[in-house]
Symmetry: C3
Subunit: 211 residues, 3 copies
């Protein structure tokens, strides 16, 4: 039962991130195979980093190619439909928020399954959640979403901490998963909707270094 | 015989990519050790990603340091000769095209050798072929070549699909390798020469997100 | 005794790089969790790449979470104190120089411990030393420090070569470690202080490619 829920959420997260990768490709006016590469790398990127550092090799999508096929199909779908939403960037941010919450919990769960202890499990959740988007933004030449002012890393952290904490106090794993995802998505969604941000470091911004 | 051909093509691909890395270093006016680092990382980058996700560890250049030595020597050679070609960027693009075709086939062959099935083999070919250049462009502060308008990812895909398809229908492996490389290089070369591109997503380019 | 010294230097290197990551976060006015992520990824980044290519999996910080905790605590500390130094960028460069020398030696030592031969050990040292900073600059949207004109990669190379050479001629390992770190830091520090640079490739800088 738990494996089923975690597996489904993992699939949703991968599909959602693949869609954000394809949306970035649309912003850059790439062709259909560029969409497929950027969508696929974004969808599987976070989980690939997670599997690498945990030593789960070969990584998940080598063992189960269906992940790759779904990412490619979704990218192609976005290629033909990206003109429909009114603001692709807004859609991208909201899907990214959903993927962020899902991957934070799934990644933390993988960390726990590897007997890595709660701290590493939380870090694994945050890294899984953020690295897909980082790879997407670096490859797509976008300003990395982690640099945006609103709450972002914090939401991934909330999702992972709620999940790991709920497991630690003995709640059922299904509840822990759902609670973590909902809390993380709520925090990031609220930040997007109301422009929430934590107090930023504000003394002085960095100047561009003289060369 | 097949191992010999694949091994030779792998060497050529690494040498060619190392040269493109050193050419980027020349565009950025780096010193001789900057050339060596960027050349080496570019030469071995795609294969390193491939070995990591397949779990072939330690990666190939730890097992066989000669790869690193060749990359360093080529980088030094470029440091002293990069003023000779009329357009370094044009040379860079053509060498990149050759490396792209070679690595797509070699990477796909490694995927097949790992019993990963045809889909993963093709993806492995595309990732091996594109990630060396991606790492080079990100480290060198260049606009990533995958974002250029002409056919790029498509050429890697053609090379990998022709190779995997030829193996699947039972052609001799030497022929599959050579056919894949020639088709991939022809497609990318034609795109460079005549400015071919696939229909791009064109509804609207992305705006710079308001901060 | 040697393990103790190498272990202490590894800790110092990680702490120093984590601090530079948090300083970049302060230049970008990130919030406290953004500081923590960028500090942690920078602190553990170089060693993670090293462990991955050597196949030391799971990577070191999964086996020993204390590394992550220290990186997070230092990042939080920087969040509250980054206004104190007169020039954060100058501090960042000097700490980066120290981390560079430390990681070059520790990375090369790991390469030797994996029986990888002297060439791979030196390359491992250079990659460990430079990749933490590369990941930091790419994620933080800074111009990568390896592109700066002064001696940088060279200093990492000096540290790794002095260490590996000293081991090869039979000097005691403690002396080799300390000699490597001092030489590397001296070279990079002198370059920062006096603006030293090696002869750069100067024929023509690259033009921005027409699109």
């Amino acid at each position: 039962m738990f494996e089923t829920i975690a597996g489904i959420l993992d699939w949703i997260g991968i599909a959602v991130f693949a869609t954000t990768g394809a949306l970035v490709a649309s912003r850059k006016q790439m062709d259909i195979f560029g969409f497929s590469l950027l969508g696929t790398v974004t969808g599987i990127g976070g989980g690939t980093v997670r599997d690498l550092v945990l030593g789960n090799l070969p990584v998940f999508w080598v063992r189960e190619p269906a992940y790759v096929i779904v990412c490619v199909l979704l990218s192609v779908l976005v290629f033909f439909t990206a003109h429909i939403p009114e603001s692709r960037y807004r859609l991208l941010l909201w899907l990214d928020a959903l993927g962020l919450a899902l991957f934070a919990v799934v990644g933390a769960g993988m960390g726990l399954a590897a007997d890595a202890g709660p701290v590493v499990a939380v870090v694994m959740g945050v890294i899984t959640a953020t690295f897909g988007g980082i790879i997407r933004d670096v490859l797509g030449g976008e300003s990395p979403v982690i640099l945006r002012r609103e709450i972002y890393v914090t939401a991934a952290l909330v999702a992972a901490v709620v999940f790991v904490g709920a497991i630690a106090v003995g709640l059922p794993r299904e509840g822990a998963v759902i609670g973590g995802v909902l809390c993380g998505f709520a925090v990031r969604g609220a930040a997007l909707h109301w422009g929430w941000s934590l107090p930023a470091y504000r003394a002085r911004p960095g100047r561009v270094p003289e060369d």
